[in-house]
Amino acid sequence: MNKIIADENPEVMQWLSPLDPGRRHQDVRIDRLDGVGNWIFKTSEFREWRSNEGGADKAVLFCCGNPGVGKTYLRCLIQLQEVGIIADRHQY
């Protein structure tokens, strides 16, 4: 979340939601180990989802797994990767 916008619009922020999703993401980012989980970017499912060529039919990617297998860290990884892709969107 952009802190300046949040600071300048406290009423709007409170009206939208009392939840602050950024805090959890920050914790996961700190604990994440570089390189771990990168296999997901090589899967055909991820590539198909990321390409967005399938439109709304292929717009949802569900990572399914038991507790403790690292789903949250993969989610963080995907999110960080998306931000990186903005800088270099031709890598996919």
């Binding site: 979340m1 952009n2 916008i5 949040a6 619009n9 009423e11 709007v12 009206w15 939208l16 939601s17 009392p18 939840l19 602050d20 999703p21 950024g22 959890r24 993401h25 996961v28 980012r29 604990d31 994440r32 180990l33 390189g35 771990v36 989980g37 296999w39 499912e45 991820f46 989802w49 967005n52 399938g54 439109g55 709304a56 292929k58 717009a59 949802v60 990617l61 569900f62 990572c63 399914c64 797994g65 038991n66 507790p67 403790g68 297998v69 690292g70 789903k71 949250t72 860290y73 993969l74 989610r75 995907i78 999110q79 960080l80 990767q81 998306e82 931000v83 990186g84 903005i86 800088a87």
Partner: protein
């Protein structure tokens, strides 16, 4: 570098929002609040902010300053998503959402997606919520997540390197840890469809 970029407003009009469900905070994690939290993260773009400010003023001017209802916030999110050329929404731990809110959340996302196919959604959850995800997103892509041996080894190597008392462990024990734990975790994953994996935080 990527982590730093994450704190900066993006150079192009791509919206990214995330949310992690948490069973410890179920009371506050209503569908309306979750969608609102997603929307907050899309406000980095001026036009989206203007749109949300207008919606806020309109709600404020109504008698009693009516609070947000789910259909309202879904409509606001839909318009915000339509403003941006591309939007990524990541929602983690769907299984920690109360069932009522989970179904509402998935239905709301489906409604927004129907109007804005440029939106892409990344979901994670335990196998028990797969039926709900399928119910709303029948053509979704699925990746089953199991620990990879290489990832487990990297994690262990990192932990051993950070051991504050490395001399207290023999080389033999160190080698056994690096060999046996990845093997055991792989064995557990073979039966993962029937036996839950113990809660080992791998990454």
């Amino acid at each position: 570098m990527i982590d730093n970029l994450c704190d900066e407003p993006c150079g192009e009009e791509i919206g990214i929002a995330m949310f992690s469900s948490d069973f410890r905070n179920q009371q506050e994690q209503t569908t309306t609040n979750i969608i609102g939290a997603i929307l907050k993260q899309l406000l980095v773009k001026g036009r989206v902010l203007e749109h949300v400010q207008k919606a806020f003023q309109k709600a404020k001017n109504e008698v009693g300053g009516r609070g947000l209802r789910l259909p309202d916030i879904v409509r606001v999110l839909g318009k915000a998503v339509a403003i941006l050329p591309r939007v990524f929404i990541c929602i983690d731990a769907l299984d920690e959402c109360p069932p009522k809110h989970l179904l509402e959340l998935l239905r709301s996302l489906k409604d927004v997606l129907r109007e804005s196919p440029r939106m892409q959604i990344f979901l994670t959850g335990r196998p028990q919520v797969e039926a709900e995800v399928t119910r709303y997103f029948i053509t979704r892509l699925t990746i089953p997540i199991v620990p990879k041996t290489h990832d487990v080894q990297s994690y262990l190597e990192n932990k051993l390197e950070m051991d504050p008392e490395p001399m207290a462990m023999s080389n033999g024990l160190r080698a056994d840890i690096l060999r046996i734990i990845p093997e055991k975790i792989s064995e557990m994953c073979v039966g993962a469809s029937t036996v839950p994996i113990p809660c080992v935080i791998l990454y």
